[in-house]
Symmetry: C2
Subunit: 142 residues, 2 copies
Amino acid sequence: MKPIATRSDCPISFSLDIFGDKWTLLILRDMILHEKNSFSEFMNSAEGIASNILIDRLNTLHSQGFVTKKASELNKSKFLYTMTEKAIDLVPVLVDLMEWGEKYNKKGEPKALLAKILKNRDKTIREIQEKLREKRYQPSAG
Amino acid sequence: MKPIATRSDCPISFSLDIFGDKWTLLILRDMILHEKNSFSEFMNSAEGIASNILIDRLNTLHSQGFVTKKASELNKSKFLYTMTEKAIDLVPVLVDLMEWGEKYNKKGEPKALLAKILKNRDKTIREIQEKLREKRYQPSAG
């Protein structure tokens, strides 16, 4: 794994050294909530990520061990990304960001998942993580 | 409150629109974990924030309602910052970032708080939040 330049020994700072930006966690969100796993799918998200930024963030996620990639069986020039345990461990962060964002911006979607998080956060996190772990062992052919 | 440009209706994206960067959450960390509340104290943190970035992020935190500021009684040219409920609601995110950062970078500090989080995350969050709320009603003179 490529070593990253850390600013301090603070674990919060270390986390932000890797994914403290506006885009990296949105790629993980796409994999978690929208079952996306390819460049073209990430490009099509509502936020309109620029292709050079997406390439950069996917490279970071890959070099830092958050995702593995393999060529699609149907299209050898297409890579399919799968989250590792290191990324799956970020589900609580994403769930908390969702809960906070929903509280302070009432337009938030998806309402069904938000309701589930508010009802039982820990159970919802466990369910999402289990689903992601199952997918690691049965990756789609793409 | 100054409206911010949002990229989508996704609550995770909304959260990152405001504090998706390497520095904003570190200022809140300083207020939460290190009881800092002034520009000079934030400047002295281990990560070595640049003064122009600190000014920018404090302005955002203030204009977006995460902190209130008032002149110190001992030094009228010095501002003291206090977290609002909007920022206190981010304690779970910071605790999760700490937990994740500690897991993937074993140099992490402070060990005592990390042990407490691992033992009982929800209780630790509640205790931190209660302490921050008490401080809102008894701000130090600085």
